[in-house]
Amino acid sequence: MRIRVLFIACLLFLPTFSIATELGSVTERVEETESSGLRDELSEGFEYSMRFLTFGTCQKVADSSQNPNNDFFQIPRYSTELEIRPDLRLTFRRLDLSVKPRMNLEWNAWEDGVREGDTDWDDDWFINEWLARLQMTENLFVSYGRENLQWGPSYLFSPSNPFFRDNGRSNPKREVPGMDFARLVWLPGMSWTISFIANLDEGRQEFRFYEFDKIYALKLDYTGQEAYTTMILSHQESDRNRLGAFGGWTATDALLIYGEGTISRGTNALYPKNADNPFGASMVAVDDEDSSLKGTILAGGSYTLEVGPTLTVEYAYNSPGYSDDQAKAYYQLRQAAADAYTLSAPMGDLSRLTLSRTADPKLRFLRQNYVMFQYQHNNIQDVLNLTFRWTQNLDDSSGQFIYIVEYFVGDHAQLFSIGSINSGSGDTEFGTILDYQWMIGLEYTF
């Protein structure tokens, strides 16, 4: 309720502030006072934007053991959403304040599983991001707020980021939910930045199968004339230390080469292990105490053709990912759990517990070798953006095709369509959740 009041207050505040800003310039001519000077300073430092998004989504659930008869994930067949996204920001002297309240109205319809034939309306009022930042000295900044901290050059995913799994690249119209961070940023020079980052609360992120643990990170950035590099040392409470890094090089005016990765001693990822239970196995963090180095590394490059399009290729090696034998055991366990899903307790409960572990085994990708190709052509005739991306799992031969089409209509509106088509059987990574998803919508910006 409080969020709704705050959201409405923000919306009301927008036009009021705009009118006050315009009136302010008239009043100034009449009387020069200190308060008008302050008002001018405030109005100059105030920025806002308002976006309305409405879109419809159609998706077909995959026939897979992870989601038997769509009873586990209960994914709707159709949905429509309306989202209002005002972004407000005030820069006043050394203080920087921003807030991004959101209102989401959603309608869903199910055609599969226990909710077959169901429809549902839902509204959600929340603040996805907010930030209060104080400039202590010219080169020292301290902040606290709900943020979506993203970095790194790669499209496929960002292994160097210890906080967020989703880098927001697969669907740019869906905002990544923010988490709560305290940050201290020090700029010893133009080329160097040292940041201390504490992730203190899960914020809007949902940890469906596990509890949130605080993460602390030290980040060191260097930006040179034609290259940049960053190292991130992080520690997760009740877990381990990780070292992440990324870097990029502008090799020519058209060619970018980059890499990103992370390493740690052992891993908290879950693996199928023989167990004395009706399924004969369970998901266990077998390498939790292992001191050997485990890591994920991604190498990529992009080239912009003279006629406009940019071609990108990325390869990722994910050493904690499953080998063929582990994958076989994983899918066998998942199938056993799926077969018992509709049984009563205790088998039904064990099935749900097992499927929640197989759904999120704490791996960004399930297997070890991936390659991604992307064709991107923006600003075609200054109105059309196209992105086509193919991701191939080299170990189980499943793949995912993503397209993003954006078309500007006039100065305010954009039509968009975003979709994905997954190839592979139900016992492959990309064939597990959806066969396809198709979204079409309109974004209107004031």
């Binding site: 080169n139 927001g168 990544v176 950035d221 290259a227 058209a254 923006n378 600003n379 005739q381």
Partner: protein, 256 residues
């Protein structure tokens, strides 16, 4: 007699020397006394390469009959610049950060900065590299310097070849006004010798550098080499020198 002749000859010689030296001192040399690099660096200065400056650009493009516009605010220092999209509303809030040759594009709602190449198109005939401060003095070598006129203005014509692979254009023919030492026209070529586009420049703005007023670019008109009706016009306004701190160009602080 001989003596008289010698005296007359001496006078004649002296007169000749005076006339020649007088001409020499009162007309500009055909080819500049200053080096091509110096000419280029002075021309660069009038296109953004100064210690802390801010301006707005209104870009209007006509491409295959379709008109579009963008308004951007640029904050620049040396070869670093931050371009913020102000208008139209559909692109408001987008940012383009250029730290020397590194470039990132930031979209509101998509928090992850995307590294991009200078070659990527910004709008119409303008590439990302076209709105950045120019560093022709550092990026190009003049293979020849000659003279030409542009709109009846006497110019140095410099044939520039890229000194590294990291620049947007492999070759530029650059006309620099002899009197004002600002670039007034350029032609951009690929490595195969194909002309991509041409541009003309106007300098209606003025900035103070070390207390002296210096011309600053006010208009750049880019014309496509193949489809001549595809024209992109960049109007520069609200130019002001100001201190631009390091934090302006910092990705950790920029994405909000």
């Amino acid at each position: 007699m001989n003596f008289k002749f010698q005296v007359s000859s001496f006078k004649l010689m002296a007169l000749l020397v005076m006339v020649v030296s007088g001409i020499a001192f009162h007309t500009k040399p055909l080819i500049a006394d200053i080096s091509p690099k110096k000419i280029l660096s002075m021309a660069d200065e009038a296109r953004g390469n100064v210690e802390g400056i801010e301006w707005e650009i209104k870009i209007e493009s006509i491409e295959n009959g379709r008109k579009q516009f963008r308004t951007l605010k640029i904050k620049a220092r040396d070869f670093n610049s931050l371009a913020e999209f102000l208008l139209p509303p559909k692109v408001k809030g987008r940012k383009l950060l250029m730290i020397d040759r590194n470039m990132w594009f930031i979209k509101p709602g998509l928090r992850k900065p995307v590294p991009i190449s200078p070659r990527q198109k910004l709008m119409g005939g303008a590439s990302n590299g076209d709105i950045a401060s120019t560093n022709y003095a550092g990026d190009y070598e003049a293979t020849s310097v000659s003279e030409d006129t542009v709109n009846e203005e006497l110019c140095y014509l410099l044939d520039l070849i890229a000194s590294n692979k990291k620049v947007t254009y492999d070759r530029i023919r650059y006309w620099i006004s002899k009197e004002r030492l600002v670039g007034v026209k350029s032609e951009f070529f690929t490595v195969s010798g194909k002309m991509l586009k041409s541009a003309t420049f106007e300098y209606g703005n003025s900035i103070l550098i070390q207390g002296k007023p210096k011309p600053f670019v006010s208009k750049m008109v880019i014309t496509d080499a193949i489809v001549k009706s595809n024209v992109t016009t960049m109007n520069y306004s609200k130019v002001k020198l100001k201190k631009i701190p390091d934090s302006t160009f910092n990705l950790n602080l920029l994405v909000r």
